[in-house]
């Protein structure tokens, strides 16, 4: 594959050149050249100067206001003669700025602020022109501006371009040429899906002469299920989505279905207003769907604690403030954090606004400290430990888990069929299967349900001092009476029949002597631990291993937030279930052939057992409780061999392979698959949700943010007082649903602006206002205010259609420009804010990883599901306790899942993610920094994920057909990674590098082997190690290139 036509611009270059000349001519004729000073806009030019230097003492905040002067309100400024419209020299503002007297001079020297001569000049001219104020741009209603006239309408692809070009023309800058098609498609794919295109897709695009070629690519990528993953990343930063609670022990929280909800919402282009309402108040909608409840996990993503000694009230105050910061930053683009302690100094947010916003969430069921301690009792959480989850949770269906379960079941089926085919291809195999069937038929004659019960077991207490007595009933049950021992250890010996045993069952049976319960206690329950050994002859024992055990009923046991399904270690049973027969089945690892009369000794540790029975079976299946002879099994066995259906054959084969040691390797594979199937939990998983409680938490204004100070006023839910108020019928207290609807109402000036501004940043590297978290007075006035308003209006008027806005942005000529830096603009527009070109941008952390795995062909493209565990340095969690944490890297293909699915440990974020600037998501964050550090170099060079990817990439290169020379293969490497042809100098350099590596690894084959074995996947054995290692080195170089991790 050679990308020969890569450098053809997306639109014919002739037109381009033509346009440029035309534009130059028009520019000459424009009035901007006539030497007039451009008009002064208060918001753009004046407000930032006043906000920076004056508002601290002469702004909205009452407490620190000096001389009762406000410069943010024109009436006050004029009344106090600080500003005399039309007369700058008579204005005290100007006099003070110029005053040589340190007592008089403003800003005061102690403030370390200076107003530059250029700024003073602006202020003078503004006052001279009448000192016209404008409402702060972001608080003014969103009105759709008319499109500005441009001199070169041919360049524009739509409204966006008109605004961009008008500014460029004003500055007499010509836009850049469109990017070449290779660059353009790579940019588009990375921006829309976080994954690069394939070389074939690039090739196709380059060759596509249709005028709709680009639009087709846009639609293809918008329809990709990976679009949702890409769009989710900034959203998950904003809502601070993570897998752990963040405070103190940083325990796991179960909330991944919320991430799936976010991804799915973007994929199906759920309107942003609905997306908002569901997250903040999905539970309050009429008949909420499961998805809408999952969405309310948003309200639970604040950090939580269960530290001993933490004060519930203090933490409830922290959670409340965290929610206010998140909602105000994410939706209102306003940093309200300072209003926790005092009225905002620069914006009209008051402290009361802060707590009134917090009050909306007063009905969210939560705990300040998620545990029941003597000093801070929480009776609802009695008995909870550090391993418990963080309630309330909802059990929901997860599509990923269902797909995975089905896929694993299919794998089991294939494995069983393949193994049967292999086994019965030989005469001994066929005989073995036949004789097993006969044995089972015989066995079923005496034990029709597939379970063998010794009617005369012997039983005693292993701890001989138990006060209880034991009697064996005629049906093999064992009845206990008398006092309950402290920690009873029952030892039951049963005689076995000849054949296989593959499962052991313990039944607990209600008995009239024990008030029709199987336990001898009224409340509570018991914990049961079971071990067993077979004694074929006196003095010889085989200790049985179990690989899995299931019970018909159990109380949950948690391990780091997740319920253990397997009762192998402990079966916890509550008295509430003991009035029915309950049983647990333990599967042998591996099954054991026994002779008639062999003794099975079962040791049961449990107190308060009332009546129980032990049985064994030669028939195990993938699910422990399905062991024994099921009707399906009996039907299959009875059927004439030639007439068995495929399912029946499967049933028999599966039982044979699960119940014998016919093939130990198959048995081991089945075991592993069964474990994975079990972990899918039939697609049901818990997730944090919002449960509204009628017992609302009262919200008070906390003076100076002090949670112990109860002198502040109690506040009702309310939106910031200076913004248009929600229109709600009746006088009821406002609810979360009212808040959500208000956030996305047409009258709210902030939400749409904040969101489209962040979208813009995603596609251009900078926001139109480049402080996306702060659109207030202290933020940056937008470079293109009309464009921002136009986009905000379009967003709302389109029904909050996110894909529509994305499509408009990527379809613009501005977006499609080349990204090459233009030295002639260095002084004119040093940060490229006028967008005379695209901005190159390093990929975000998750996509740095995805891109490497994709290039290597390792990426697991599955969508959704539980978080995955990429390789991580040993002991990285050594500083985490309560409970202590192990980290097991995902042992299978899930190792190569996309970065968006990485386990997000708030206190110790995976170092690869942290090194590439991903936030720990402890706090709402809408603006990831982009740093360049040595840690990034070390990660790409040495993190096993990237070394393994390099090895897999090398294998892909070496297996490529029809590539003859080193140079051609080097080109292929560059084309695969960068989606452009290699330059001659690059090829030459890499070929020379390869030679050196080849020589080294030829002389050091042991080193080659070591390099090839980094990571969990096995290297290809057919490739010569030295050659393979040399190409791995080369692949490491390519994966480390600046260009590989940069989107141009």
């Amino acid at each position: 594959m050679i990308l020969t036509r890569c450098f053809t611009p997306a639109r014919p270059s002739l037109t381009w050149r033509h346009t440029r000349i035309l534009m130059g001519l028009l520019a000459l004729a424009s009035p901007a050249l006539a030497g007039e000073s451009p008009a002064i806009h208060f918001n753009r030019d004046i407000r930032p100067i006043l906000a920076e230097n004056c508002f601290r003492c002469h702004g909205p905040e009452l407490k620190n206001r000096k001389a009762k002067l406000r410069l943010d309100v024109r009436e006050v400024a004029v009344e106090k003669a600080a500003i005399v419209p039309g007369q700058p020299e008579a204005s005290e503002l100007i006099q003070r700025l110029d005053s040589p007297d340190p007592e008089e001079h403003m800003p005061p020297p102690a403030s370390h602020k200076t107003v530059t001569p250029a700024q003073k000049d602006l202020l003078r001219r503004w006052i001279a022109a009448g000192a016209v104020y404008e409402p702060h741009w972001s608080y003014a209603p969103v009105q759709r501006p008319t499109l500005p006239p441009v001199a070169n309408p041919k360049w524009t692809q739509g409204a966006i371009d008109a605004f961009i070009l008008a500014r460029l023309e004003e500055a007499k800058i010509t836009p850049s040429a469109p990017a070449d098609r290779c660059t353009l498609l790579r940019r588009l794919a990375l921006d829309l899906t976080g994954l690069p295109p394939t070389p074939a897709e690039v090739e196709q695009f380059v060759k596509d002469r249709s005028p709709k070629a680009y639009a087709k690519q846009v639609e293809r990528l918008l329809a990709s299920p990976h679009y949702g993953e890409r769009m989710a990343v900034p959203w998950l930063d904003a809502v601070r989505f993570a897998d752990t609670v963040g405070y103190h022990g940083d325990q796991n929280q179960n909330v991944f279905p919320y991430r799936d909800y976010v991804i799915a919402s973007f994929n199906r282009n759920q309107p942003f207003d609905q997306f908002t309402i569901e997250q903040i108040a999905g539970d309050l909608l009429p008949n909420p769907t499961e998805e809408q409840k999952i969405a309310t996990g948003f309200n639970r993503l604040n950090m939580m604690t269960r530290e001993g000694g933490a004060q519930p009230k203090e933490y409830l105050a922290k959670y409340a403030a965290d929610r206010v910061r998140t909602v105000s930053t994410t939706w209102l683009g306003s940093t309200m954090a300072c209003a926790e302690c005092h009225d905002h100094k620069y914006d009209p947010f008051t402290q009361r606004d802060f707590y009134s916003l917090a009050a909306f969430f007063g009905d969210v069921k939560q705990w300040g400290v998620y545990q029941d301690y003597g000093y801070t009792p929480n009776p609802e959480l009695a008995g909870w430990s550090n391993d418990h989850p963080f309630p309330p949770e909802l059990f929901v269906t997860n599509q990923y888990l269902l797909r995975r379960e089905a896929q694993l079941n299919a794998e089991v089926g294939q494995l069983v069929e393949a193994e049967m085919a292999a086994a019965t291809a030989t005469a001994p195999g066929r005989e073995s299967f036949q004789s097993w069937q006969s044995e089972i038929r015989n066995f079923l004659k005496t034990s029709p349900d597939g379970w063998h019960v010794d009617l005369q077991p012997t039983v005693k207490f292993a701890n001989s001092n138990s006060p209880a007595t034991l009697t064996v009933q005629p049906d093999g049950r064992i009845l206990c009476a008398g006092k309950i021992g402290k920690a009873d250890k029952f030892q039951v010996s049963v005689a076995l029949e000849a054949g296989w045993i593959s499962a052991v069952r313990l039944e607990l049976l209600p008995h009239p002597d024990h008030n029709h319960s199987s336990l001898r206690r009224e409340t509570g329950g018991t914990e049961i631990r079971l071990g067993a050994e077979v004694k074929p002859a006196p003095g010889r024992t085989t200790k049985l291993q179990f690989y899995h055990a299931e019970a018909t009923s159990k109380r949950p046991i948690y391990e780091n937030g997740y319920e253990l399904l397997d009762v192998r270690r402990t079966w916890k049973l509550g008295t509430e279930s003991a009035t029915n027969r309950q049983s647990a089945v333990y599967l042998l690892d591996p099954p054991l052939a026994v002779a008639a009369g062999d003794i099975l000794e079962v040791n049961i540790e449990a107190d308060a057992l009332g009546c129980f029975r032990v049985a064994t079976s030669p028939l195990a299946t993938s699910s422990a409780l399905g062991s024994g002879a099921t009707p399906e099994f009996i039907q299959a066995l009875e059927c004439v061999p030639g007439r068995r259906t495929r399912n029946q054959k499967q049933t028999l084969a599966s039982a044979w392979l699960h119940s014998t040691t016919q093939s130990l390797s198959t048995f081991a594979q089945l075991k592993a698959l069964n474990h994975e199937i079990l972990e899918c939990r039939h697609g049901i998983t818990p997730t944090l949700v919002t449960v509204a409680t009628t017992n609302r938490q009262l919200t008070r204004v906390l003076p100076r943010g002090n949670w112990q100070d109860e002198s502040g006023a109690i506040v009702a839910p309310a939106v910031p007082h200076f913004l248009p108020q929600p229109q709600v019928a009746g006088s009821n207290q406002l609810s979360r649903l009212d808040l959500a609807r208000w956030l996305v109402s047409r009258e709210n000036p902030l939400t749409a602006r904040a969101f489209v501004n962040r979208l813009w940043k995603q596609f251009f590297g900078n926001g139109l206002s480049n402080q996306p978290e702060e659109l207030g007075a202290q933020g940056e006035p937008p470079t293109h205010p009309e464009l921002l308003d136009w986009l905000a209006a379009e967003f709302m008027d389109s029904g909050w259609d996110i894909k529509h806005i994305v499509r408009l942005i990527v379809a613009s000529a501005a977006y499609q420009q080349d990204a090459t830096i233009r030295p002639e603009l260095r002084d004119l527009d040093p940060n490229n804010r006028l967008l005379a070109r695209q901005n190159p941008r390093r990929l975000e952390a998750e996509f740095v990883r995805d891109n490497a795995l994709w290039i290597a062909g390792l990426l697991d493209p599955e969508i959704g599901g539980p978080s995955a565990f990429p390789y991580q340095p040993a002991d990285y969690y050594a500083n985490i306790q309560f409970p202590n944490r192990d980290y097991l890297a995902s042992p299978d293909a899930r190792q190569y899942r996309r970065g968006v699915y990485s386990h997000w440990q708030r206190t110790f974020l995976h170092p690869m993610l942290a090194n590439f600037d991903a936030p720990a998501r402890e706090e709402c964050s809408v603006d990831r920094p982009v740093s360049i550090t040595p840690q990034q170099a070390l990660t790409l060079l040495n993190d096993p994920s990237f070394v393994e990817a390099a090895r897999a990439f090398a294998e892909k290169l070496l297996r490529a057909p029809k590539v003859k020379s080193d140079a051609a293969r080097v080109n292929l490497a560059m084309e695969t990674a960068l989606l452009r042809p290699a330059r001659k100098a690059e090829t030459a350099s890499l070929v020379q590098f390869l030679d050196g590596q080849r020589k080294y690894y030829a002389a050091n084959e042991a080193e080659a082997q070591k390099l090839l074995h980094v990571g969990r996947s096995a290297p290809a054995t057919v490739l010569p190690p030295a050659e393979y290692a040399a190409w791995t080195s080369l692949a490491r170089v390519v994966l480390n290139l600046h260009e590989t991790i940069t989107r141009y």
Binding site: H248, T335, C338, R983, E1007, H1042
Partner: protein, 481 residues
Amino acid sequence: MSFPFDEQSFQQSINRRSFLTRSAYGLGGLALTSLFNPKRLAAAPDPRGIPGAIQPLHFPPKAKRVIHLCMAGGPSHLESFDWKPKLKELDNQPFPASMTNGQQLAQLQNTPLKARGPFVTFAKYGQSGQEISNLFPHIAGIADDLCIVRSMHTEQINHDPAHAFMNSGSIIKGRPSMGSWLFYGLGAETENLPGFVVFTTQGKAGQQPVSSRQWSAGYLPGKYQGIQFQSKGDAVHYVGNPEGVCQSTQRQVIEEINRLNGLLADEKLDPEIQTRIAQYEMAFRMQTSVPELSDFSSEPKSTLEHYGIKRPGDGSFASNCLMARRLAERGVRFIQLYHRAWDHHGDIEKNMPEAARDVDQASAALVQDLKQRGMLDDTLVIWGGEFGRTPMGQGSGRDHHIKAFSIWMAGGGVKPGTTWGNTDELGYSYLEDGQDVDVHDLHATMLKLCGIDHKQLTVRYQGRDFRLTDVHGRVIEGICA
């Protein structure tokens, strides 16, 4: 982001560019001479270093670097540096409610409060006569070098937020830690090692978790974050070459990456590419300097014994103290050692002496070693926890306490042989006698000693100028020499 244009990196990349031209990237085969010059690996600070944001400094600096020995968990001031005979007398008696009414408590919430007398003895040490408990005999031995502050107080009563407050002056996440601020303001005297290095160790009891956010750069650029050195495996994450890659192969890989990046830079004219090239060079220098740093073979046996190191590089607190000195010698700006062992809610009489034994000898040895090498004058050592412990008992231990705790400092322009500040006669609260020191004051003072006016070390973020001390902090001139 608040750093749309990083003047400093830009300047560096310009310098780098001329350097690159000289070293002839793109021509192939030529080694990076300065990169692999063995002299660069010597212990002397790298003369190039990383320039700081504050140029010139606001004051003549007394301290060039800071070593913070963080006694994580909150050591009892009542059994270390704040002798309260009255509390001993009141042992097991009801604690005066007048002191505790309306005050914050942690695990003692909703329980009757009784005084717990200190279980140790105090004596006066050195010519200065500093009062130190018998749990710290080695630290007592350097009494005349110490400036003990007994009037510390904080706002946060639980470990996690208290560490955050101690490090960043705020409990809101995403604020830079003091190490990052100092590194940002002063730069570092090395390009071979990170400017801010963190170690953690733990004792046998009284451990509490410590989050990596404690050394986060917050809204400062990522390069100012603290880098945690590990006691097992690679000292720094990913600093070791992959299996099967020797140092010379790794060097060739990096040279090749940079050669190709150089070609890209010629085409794209993007200063970021130059920065990337520089960071690969630094990464390689770290790969070579870190093993040299961790190699204690050049340290005489007497030094190891002085610190009480059983096995060099065993990841113990003692070994890390020696490492701290070696990092200080090599130009690292801020070195932070956490010892997680001080949360003594119960069994304080057994566990606190144990924790003290973990750190006493090595902490004192570090100060003496620095002094012997003439480095104590410009190295500020700070020893202390995130809060103190209640004078009220909690069973066999003490609860968290924020109204008073003790720390000590040494070197770096603090007054040696001084005790500063007072608490009431039961050690419950600092006295408002003008000598109290809150966390912001500590930060302001630390910055002052390093030549920085805490009010002028600001960074614009979320539309306003932020600083380590927020709107608080006063320099405690009384402890500055």
